[in-house]
Symmetry: C2
Subunit: 140 residues, 2 copies
């Protein structure tokens, strides 16, 4: 049993799901797996191209949809920008966006999660998914 890169894990998961691994998809998986930030479709396309993989933007979008459907990546839709994507690392988290620098940070808060569930429950609902974004500014 060897160390598996995140890109390889992605591939294996896709194969298991019966999705074909094409040259383009493999390239995108590598780019996605390497992403430390939260790139949008155009950036992913550029990175794949820069890495020498010929991929069309249409395929980038189609691949992102497929990966999202498999639950392997998460689509983020922040205010006033194209959708961004991040590899789903399993544990849920929310986002904080520095409105001055555009930097995106992640955070988890169990109490907020619980409160949300309580609020929904009080009104007779259960949460399917939720979205919490804090648009912030560094304190002087």
């Amino acid at each position: 049993m060897e160390i598996e890169t995140r890109a390889e894990a992605f591939e294996a998961a896709l194969r298991r799901a019966g999705v074909r691994i094409t040259r383009q998809r493999a390239a995108l998986l590598r780019v996605l797996a390497a992403a430390e930030d939260h790139p949008d479709a155009t950036q992913l396309h550029q990175r794949a191209m820069a890495a020498g993989a010929g991929v069309s933007l249409a395929t980038v979008y189609r691949t992102l949809s497929a990966l999202e459907a498999q639950g392997m990546i998460q689509k983020l839709e922040f205010e006033g920008e194209p959708a961004r994507f991040e590899p789903a690392d399993g544990h849920h988290h929310d986002h904080m966006i520095d409105v001055e620098t555009g930097e995106v940070m992640e955070f988890v808060n169990e109490r907020i999660e619980r409160l949300q569930a309580e609020i929904a429950a009080e009104m007779g609902y259960e949460i399917v998914r939720h979205r919490l974004e804090l648009y912030v500014r560094r304190r002087r």
Copy 2:
């Protein structure tokens, strides 16, 4: 001192801000003030037209931008739909969306607000604005 309708309050506020009250804007203010739901630009346009006011969709968008800039309305961007708008009633609230019916409900939770501020503060930030949406399903 008389009872002032919400549309009239809107007009007065706009006038104070030095914004001209055109026939089109007055019509949109009335439509917005009367909205119990959370209509999008097209719906507002249709309602204004139905009310006999000739307004172009471009003007609807321009007016909505102006009203948002004045802080008189709030733009809501839920997942997978055009932006919706609601009159700003002064007190902040978040939204719960029934994924089955599309119904939008409002809620306020002081503890969640406080927790958000704490999280930001812990990381050295202060909150500029935030967005919290619960996508929910009715419990059987």
